[in-house]
């Protein structure tokens, strides 16, 4: 079998090996009782990745009843070997932060407040703004008469938070619209 650090620990925790460890002088009763009281008991382990720097430490997310109950560094990942920095260690708190945005919000021109809106209304409004600007502003030919199909009056900024698959979606969407003003924090 492939033996990773974590599978070894799991294996070592199984009763078949307890005897061996017991013979080595370990009494596992207390540890077992403690493990039984852990908040991750019975939780599903899901592999995720810390969303900050590009060391990309792998993280185990513990999920029970559809809720995130804990996160910790993945000891099997050869790069971080279970370690996380202060930000990575705060992943769980970030998830539970009370400041989190939970609904689409709208600020009307000259308004002094946010209003809650639903997704359907919001996406339709955005699509309408984009189409109006595009139909009006897209440059089909430049001054020299060359075909350019360029939509210069809107821009896309972001984001290195996007997954590769999302980047591919965003790039294709923007070039499809004709957007050339596209950039992100690769360089800030």
């Amino acid at each position: 079998m492939k033996c990773t650090r974590r599978s070894f620990l799991k294996f070592a925790g199984a009763s078949a090996v307890c005897l061996t460890l017991g013979q080595m002088g370990f009494n596992l009763e207390a540890a077992r009782a403690y493990a039984g009281s852990l908040k991750i008991e019975g939780a599903k382990e899901v592999t995720t990745i810390c969303p900050f720097c590009a060391v990309c430490c792998q993280v185990i997310a513990y999920v029970r009843d559809g809720k995130l109950v804990a996160t910790e560094g993945d000891p099997d990942f050869p790069v971080n070997e279970g370690a996380l920095c202060a930000k990575g260690a705060a992943l769980f708190t970030m998830y539970t932060s009370q400041h989190r945005l939970l609904k689409p919000m709208y600020r009307a021109p000259y308004s002094d407040k946010w209003e809650e809106k639903d997704w359907d209304w919001t996406l339709n409004q955005i699509a309408r703004r984009v189409k109006e600007a595009r139909d009006r502003d897209i440059i089909l030919q430049n001054a020299a008469g060359k075909t350019v199909n360029r939509f210069e009056s809107i821009f896309m900024m972001g984001t290195s938070h996007a997954s590769n698959e999302e980047c591919a979606v965003i790039h294709q969407a923007m070039r499809g619209l004709g957007v050339v003003y596209m950039d992100h924090q690769a360089r800030t």
Binding site: V55, N80, M94, L101, Y110, D135, N149, I154, S160, V180
Partner: protein, 808 residues
């Protein structure tokens, strides 16, 4: 990174410059410490003493913005002491190439300079070629115009005295670093250079990196274990978002943005497909037409045919020479030339330079769409301090975006490893992933164009676009499909099956791939390789910490780039103890080599080592950059120094700047702003702090904006530790708490004392009483190649404040 995180442990010398790795990439530092345990010398060259310095063998303080002077001094030292790896230079670099007679360098300016356009005619820097177009070489390295001698002459001016006078580093400290690092010029020694935004965010940013490339090539440190030039990328998927080109000048896979001058695909391919006269040069980019056709096929599917140029005509074409980067975007927004914009997962109203301009600019948009985890200085710009919302027109759509644990997909780490993450839980509230915003948005637009018509509907309607987003499906689209039944070796691939490797991509429309670099990451044979978690390795791979079966890495799972330069002409490793690849007489073993061909000594089938350059040799002399074929010291756009010893050209003759009323740059040595400011991040906050200030325990550990300054400067200004202070540049004013520390020392520059201060930029007004954007001070002057602004150096003054309004 040319190498990868774990590989740092293989180094004999580690030079950390333009980075505070222990603070900003804390977990990678274990590999630096492993190198140290193995006997490597760790050196930190940076304006201030930090957590990185504390763990290094020694710290060398350097005045911000003088890296090329420091590195140029090291190049001169390499020549003076003959520390270069001569065999490597001859066989793997263009040291022996002759440069044409058009090249010259005189008092800070290269030939071809046009002062009116502030630009160079780069054609005069070209190499001398023979009638068939092959470069003319002098293997004796004696010709005065061979690259080796041009380099030697160029950097002869970088004497210890000149470098010390400019950088503020003592001659003793210069020698300390030069000696240790240049000792890796031996065949069996390796030195690595680790850098980050401390190098890129300068008006000479690209040349900072080139200077490090020169050193690494002279010492034979590229391609080897423990070597390389390693950008410690700071953002979560910045490698992937760069590969997939959320950028102004590229399409995915490093294909240029089409321009008006390239009206047809043939026009584009003609100018973007390099041709070499050397039979043993692989010239990999000669494959670019295959990758571009496959990209177009991926975007437009069955609509893309050879007859219609694979829909190339539908793509937007940039104006020739026009810059569409974010600094230009914000300048256009400032001038009211943009109607709307998408700002996703980025907080420019805090992290862009000259934030006062940026904040005022954003008021000019008619509408803005943001997708974020939290409200930020950008989303809420319309209600910023001192502004009456009832006077601001911008309509804002603020979309709640999903957290990493709430979605699935891949990201690419700094070492180019493609890593899959699973969705752990459903998005909080009504949050959505970015893709679950854009896929339905484009579908709504497609419906509108289909039902209502409109201008140029074809690009949207002909797009190969799904009804809903599925990460696995897009991972397959990125890898690419066959669009016709295709025989590969003894295997028949049916239409719709996955392409096994980028060598199988074609220019005839029979294949698609949304990014050729990632072709091979998801195959019929092995499935989704980003999910692989197999730590198995051969003893040879184990010796250098190579995990070829864990995840996958671009290109073709090659973990160390340019690895054909880690062996001699016969394929024997220069360092057998830490071999990356080795030719066993029949095949390569170890890492995936830069191509399967036999070693260079095989005159029939062998290939040159640097497969990505046209002529197969690494480019010591590089005629491609806009500010010169060789790095040269120039002062930052804003500097306390009016004259430096290298030339009369004080700042870069080609750096980019803006001309609005808010884009002021102080004159060199302006007495009102005598102090150098550099900016940085910290472990507890991430970049502009938009996420981390909303995490209570992180905010508690680093609660407010501070400024680090030396005891000497504090005494001069009558400032005590903990005092409130006001920092001013010609562009803005910022409040902070004084942190008087020995971590920053005054510099002696040409006999004069120059003070430097440092500030984090993580704080913004949406978090009450913590301070506001440090970047109100920084300068909108940019590198001419990348348009990256000079966030790491500008000039300020500092005074003690009786009362603070931004910090409680």
């Amino acid at each position: 990174m040319t190498n990868h995180w774990i590989d740092i442990k293989n180094a004999d010398a580690v030079l950390i410059m333009g980075s505070n790795a222990a603070e900003h990439h804390p977990v990678c530092f274990k590999w630096i410490m492993k190198a140290k345990d193995n006997g490597a010398v760790i050196m930190h060259v940076d304006p201030k003493f930090s957590r990185t310095s504390a763990r290094s063998d020694f710290h060398v303080p350097l005045r911000s913005g003088t890296d090329i002077a420091f590195l140029g001094g090291m190049i001169n030292y390499i020549f003076e002491t003959e520390s270069y790896f001569k065999e490597y230079l001859l066989n793997y670099t263009n040291a022996s190439f002759l440069v044409g007679k058009g090249y010259s360098f005189n008092d800070g300016l290269f030939s071809g300079y046009n002062p009116e356009t502030r630009s160079y005619d780069r054609s005069v820097w070209a190499f001398e070629t023979s009638a068939d177009g092959a470069p003319v070489r002098d293997m004796t390295l004696s010709h005065e115009r061979c690259v080796f001698n041009l380099l030697k002459k160029h950097y002869a001016r970088y004497t210890l005295k000149n470098v010390s006078d400019t950088t503020g580093v003592s001659e003793e400290n210069l020698l300390k670093v030069y000696k240790v690092f240049c000792a890796t010029g031996k065949p069996d020694k390796a030195g690595t250079i680790l850098y980050a935004l401390g190098w890129t965010q300068h008006t000479v940013g690209a040349q900072n990196i080139r200077a490090s490339a020169l050193i690494q090539l002279l010492l034979g440190n590229i391609g080897v274990a423990g070597g390389g030039i390693n950008a410690l990328r700071g953002e979560p998927n910045v490698q992937g978002s760069t590969d997939h080109a959320l950028l102004y000048d590229n399409l995915p896979g490093y294909i240029a943005l089409p321009r008006a001058k390239w009206q047809t695909l043939a026009d584009f391919n003609k100018d973007n497909t390099p041709v070499t006269a050397l039979k043993n040069s692989v010239n990999w980019w000669s494959n670019r037409p295959k990758y571009f056709a496959s990209l177009l096929k991926g975007w437009f599917g069955d609509e893309a045919t050879p007859e219609n140029d694979f829909c190339y005509g539908l793509l937007p074409k940039g104006e020739d020479g026009e810059d569409y980067s974010y600094m230009q975007i914000m300048d256009k927004v400032y001038h009211g030339q943009m109607k709307g914009g998408f700002i996703f997962g980025v907080n420019p109203m805090n992290s862009f330079p000259n934030t006062n301009k940026m904040r005022l600019a954003l008021d000019n948009l008619d509408w803005m769409v943001c997708a974020e985890l939290h409200n930020s200085e950008t989303t809420d710009n319309w209600r910023r301090p001192g502004v009456d919302p009832k006077t601001r027109k911008t309509e804002v759509f603020l979309l709640p975006s999903a957290h990493r644990v709430e979605k699935a997909g891949t990201i690419s780490n700094s070492g180019r490893w493609l890593l899959w993450f699973d969705k752990a839980v459903e998005p909080g509230g009504e949050a959505r992933s970015f893709a679950d915003i854009f896929v339905p948005l484009i579908n709504r637009l497609r419906d509108m164009y289909r039902n209502e018509g409109g201008t140029l509907p074809e690009p949207l309607l002909k797009m190969n676009w799904p009804e809903t987003f599925d990460a696995e499906e897009w991972a397959r689209r990125i890898n690419g499909f066959f669009w016709a039944d295709t025989q590969v070796g003894d295997k028949l691939y049916k239409r719709g099956q996955l392409v096994p490797a980028f060598g199988n991509l074609q220019a005839d429309g029979t294949t698609s791939s949304l990014n050729w670099l990632y072709t091979g990451s998801y195959t019929e044979e092995d499935g989704n390789k980003s999910k692989r978690r197999d730590p198995s390795q051969t003893p040879m791979q184990a010796a250098i910490g190579l995990y070829p079966n864990w995840s996958w890495c671009w290109p073709v799972n090659r973990r160390i780039l340019y690895n054909r330069a880690s062996v001699d002409l016969k394929g024997k490793p220069y360092n057998p103890q830490k071999a990356v690849i080795e030719w066993d007489g029949v095949k390569w073993v170890g890492d995936v080599p830069d191509g399967p061909w036999p070693p260079q000594a095989d005159t029939k089938n062998g290939k040159l080592a640097f497969i990505m350059t046209k002529d197969g040799y690494a480019q010591l002399y590089g005629p491609g950059l806009k500010d010169g074929p060789l790095p040269e010291h120039y002062e930052p756009a804003e500097t306390p120094v009016a004259k430096h010893p290298f030339s009369r050209q004080n700042s870069s003759p080609v750096f980019k700047f803006f001309t609005s009323d808010m884009d002021k740059i102080a004159e060199a040595a302006d007495e009102r702003f005598p102090i150098v400011l550099t900016t940085y991040s910290m472990t507890e906050h991430w970049c502009g702090g938009g996420e981390t200030r909303n995490v209570p325990n992180l905010l508690e550990t680093e609660p407010q904006l501070y400024i680090e300054l030396s005891h000497e400067l504090a005494k001069e200004k009558g400032i005590r530790n903990g005092d409130g202070v006001i920092i001013e540049s010609i562009r803005g004013r910022v409040e902070a708490i004084a942190m008087v520390t020995v971590r920053i020392r005054p510099f002696t520059v040409m006999g004069r004392t120059i003070h430097l201060v440092g500030m984090p930029f993580a704080y913004g007004w949406t978090t009450p009483d913590c301070g506001d954007s440090t970047n109100r001070l920084t300068v909108t002057a940019c590198d001419p190649n990348t348009s990256i602004p000079e966030l790491k150096a500008c000039c300020v003054n500092i005074t003690r404040a009786d009362k603070l309004t931004e910090i409680a």
